[in-house]
């Protein structure tokens, strides 16, 4: 740990500036990523990266940034310190979202146009398998123990449970229409899935792979048709869950023990994806249509700031 932090800080020193925390935001229509310092509350710079960047994740060691540049049909690897593109992964056609296993050895990419998931060996930078799934696979998540990969197909309305050992589907769960994002709880017992069209978040028991709970949303003065849940995140203690509600322009705060919605936080227009700060004290949101990100203080459950970042911010990754 001590050694690791020395290595980390020395590599940070090598880069031009040091920030306490950095957010990388993919900008779908600017073909770029925005680099934001959330502590100072500032956009630092925008870096051109490739065509139509969407899914964005950091490697577990935070040294590599993976970005799906959908119209280039690839996931690029970027040095998280220098922001230089270091390589391209064979991600299949039109990659949008992807997930990395906790060990950092494999990446699972949704190929929306081809109805498949591509499995990539990250060390070899090679596609080692493809798994045929339903129509328009989008949301994808790996369980904390690395055993399950779950792919959600938006038009088939199904979750496909892929065994990481065999890369085979072992179960399909029919869910509410147009499932979007999915997130495992840190204990690996639950999987939370949003349905954009039904306006719900479903909670599945990972052992049985069935839906055990369903929560809907009601906001005074906002029509039900505006409530289109997308991104979902649950804190590591499973105390609170947060759901981005799309054109309702709000993030729902759900008590993850009782499943009651306790609060709605007004953020920017068409809020899409969410990310925690490393200490889970803040939540960051991409607001697709208002071209900004919102910063939420999770101790007080308050929106503290919004920062203009560029056109169509899609996803975000946060580096210590």
């Amino acid at each position: 740990m001590w050694l690791k932090s020395i290595v980390l800080s020395s590599s940070l020193l090598a880069s031009t500036t040091i920030y306490a925390e950095t957010i990388f935001v993919s900008l779908e229509k600017d073909n770029a990523i925005a680099v934001v310092d959330p502590i100072a509350g500032k956009l630092i710079k925008t870096v051109a990266i490739g065509q139509r960047p969407r899914g964005i994740e950091l490697s577990p060691d935070e040294q590599t940034l993976y970005i799906a540049t959908s119209d280039d049909d690839t996931v690029i690897t970027v040095d998280a310190n220098s922001l230089q593109v270091t390589g391209k992964l064979p991600a299949g056609e039109d990659p949008e979202t992807f997930a990395i296993n906790p060990a950092g050895t494999h990446m699972y990419v949704s190929n929306e146009d081809d109805n498949q998931v591509t499995v990539i060996d990250l060390k070899a930078a090679k596609a080692i398998a493809t798994v045929a799934v339903g129509v328009e696979p989008e949301g994808i998540a790996v369980s904390p123990d690395g055993r399950w990969i779950v792919s959600a197909s938006e038009t088939t309305n199904m979750l496909h449970w892929i065994d990481a050992n065999t890369n085979q589907i072992v179960k399909n769960t029919l869910v509410d229409p147009r499932p979007r994002a999915l997130s495992f709880t840190a204990d690996g017992q639950q999987l939370w899935v949003t349905s954009e069209i039904d306006g719900t978040v479903m909670i599945l028991d990972v052992a049985s792979k069935e839906i055990t709970q369903r929560t809907g949303f009601q906001i005074g003065g906002v029509g039900a048709e505006k409530i289109q849940p997308v991104g979902v995140k649950i804190d590591s203690q499973r105390r609170w869950a947060y759901v981005a509600l799309g054109p309702a322009n709000r993030v729902a705060v759900i008590n993850a023990q009782t499943y009651d919605v306790e609060k709605y936080l007004l953020v920017g227009a068409r809020v899409w994806n969410l990310a925690f700060s490393p200490d889970e004290k803040r939540l960051y949101t991409t607001n697709g249509v208002s071209h900004d990100i919102s910063l939420i203080d999770l101790e007080r459950h308050r929106v503290t700031k919004s920062i203009a970042v560029g056109r169509y911010p899609w996803g975000l990754a946060v580096k210590k």
Binding site: E154, T155, T156, I169, P177
Partner: protein, 383 residues
């Protein structure tokens, strides 16, 4: 190469359920005579609708491999002089209970009479309000928005823009008059004023051209917006940029109200636009979209209920449980009283999607999509 082989091997062994349930859907249409064209550059599309049904079938079968269901589409395209009713009778005799119908209103009515409630008809072609509010075809679902729905969508936007004074220009066909009727109803409904109405006469005179004719035709009227009713596209395109006053054109040309448009890319629409182009080699038209939704609706019900008979499917489709994702950001469903698909309408300019009514602020006690077209109390059709 070796890598690819390995991937294919993996694919073939991945867990795919063997099909147990076969679902047979029929697609009934008739060849069309190419209509008079405004531009020789715009090709006449022969297979509008069919390609959408095929895409829906493909999507259903992708899902079906996980549920043990396999879908087949029997295509019956009757020739120009052929007998549609005979073809339909054959389908019924062969046991088809789910029929996607891409035919004009009179022919749909004829099929309805023969059918006597046996099969479920999915109409992907008509836009007639009479079918939805007076004839009340209990065996039919209408996938495309009616003229009244389109006119109301335009009216909501014109109200929002405060384009209160409309100049209505109508073509000479029966369809144009029906479209104009819908526009007049919308004007009344939303408190707008039709300050003038003129019929385009198509009087051909060698001395007159669009350049000189349109200014004269539109001169002397004070209006905010020109609403054109020309469903065949015989003259509407000439009006923009040529009118006496510089005013926007809206209706069947200019800013159009449609179920689908090539500029639509929100709510995942890019995905289906691309999928369609790959399959059909052309842009998706609204009949294709309707046929896609028709086949997908069936798939959605059959996936969830495993039932394939017309009666059970119709019951589920008309129930509150049915919600279809149609790439328009809102769940689509059917109006139980007349089988009309509830849907947002796209208002599109040639290169940009302007807005997708129902617009914010137009309220409805149960579903805001029902602010478009004849609502339940206004319809003679009852559940």
């Amino acid at each position: 190469m070796l890598n690819r082989l390995f991937i294919m091997l993996l694919l073939s062994t991945s867990q795919i359920v063997t099909a147990e349930q076969v679902i047979k859907i029929a697609y009934l249409s008739q060849e069309l005579k190419a209509p008079a064209a405004l531009s020789n550059l715009e090709p006449f599309i022969k297979n509008k609708g069919l390609q959408g049904a095929l895409l829906g079938l493909k999507d259903n079968n992708t899902t079906g491999q996980f549920t043990g269901q396999s879908y087949q589409l029997e295509q019956k395209i009757v020739s120009l002089e052929g007998d549609v009713q005979a073809a339909f009778t054959e389908l019924l005799a062969a046991g088809f209970q789910l029929v996607v119908v891409n035919l004009p209103a009179e022919k749909l009515m004829a099929l309805h009479k023969i059918n006597a409630g046996k099969a479920l008809l999915l109409d992907v072609a008509t836009r007639d309000d009479s079918l939805r509010s007076q004839h009340c075809l209990a065996d039919t679902l209408h996938l495309l928005p009616s003229r009244a729905m389109r006119a109301d969508a335009l009216a909501q936007y014109m109200l929002k823009k405060r384009w209160n004074k409309w100049f209505l220009v109508v073509g000479k066909t029966k369809q144009d008059s029906l479209y104009a009727d819908a526009i007049k109803r919308a004007a009344k409904r939303f408190g707008m004023k039709i300050v003038a109405e003129k019929t385009w006469q198509h009087s051909y005179d060698a001395r007159r051209t669009a350049q000189s004719d349109i200014p004269v035709f539109t001169q002397g009227i004070d209006y905010d917006v020109l609403v054109v009713a020309d469903e065949q596209g015989l003259f509407g395109e000439y009006i923009s940029y040529r009118s006496w006053l510089p005013r926007p054109v809206i209706g069947t040309q200019g800013l159009v109200a449609t179920a689908w448009h090539k500029t639509h890319e929100q709510w995942g629409a890019v995905q289906i636009q691309n999928r369609f182009k790959r399959l059909a080699g052309r842009v998706m038209q609204e009949q294709d979209y309707a046929a896609y939704l028709a086949v997908r609706s069936l798939g959605e019900v059959i996936t969830r209920t495993k039932k394939t008979d017309a009666q059970s499917i119709k019951q589920y489709l008309l129930s509150g449980r049915f919600k279809l994702q149609g790439y328009k950001g809102k769940p689509l469903s059917f109006r139980a009283w007349n089988g009309q698909l509830r849907q947002p309408i796209l208002l599109a300019a040639p290169r940009s999607l302007v807005v997708a009514p129902p617009l914010e602020g137009f309220l409805h006690p149960s579903n805001e999509l029902d602010t478009l077209g004849y609502d339940e109390p206004e319809s003679q059709c009852q559940q």
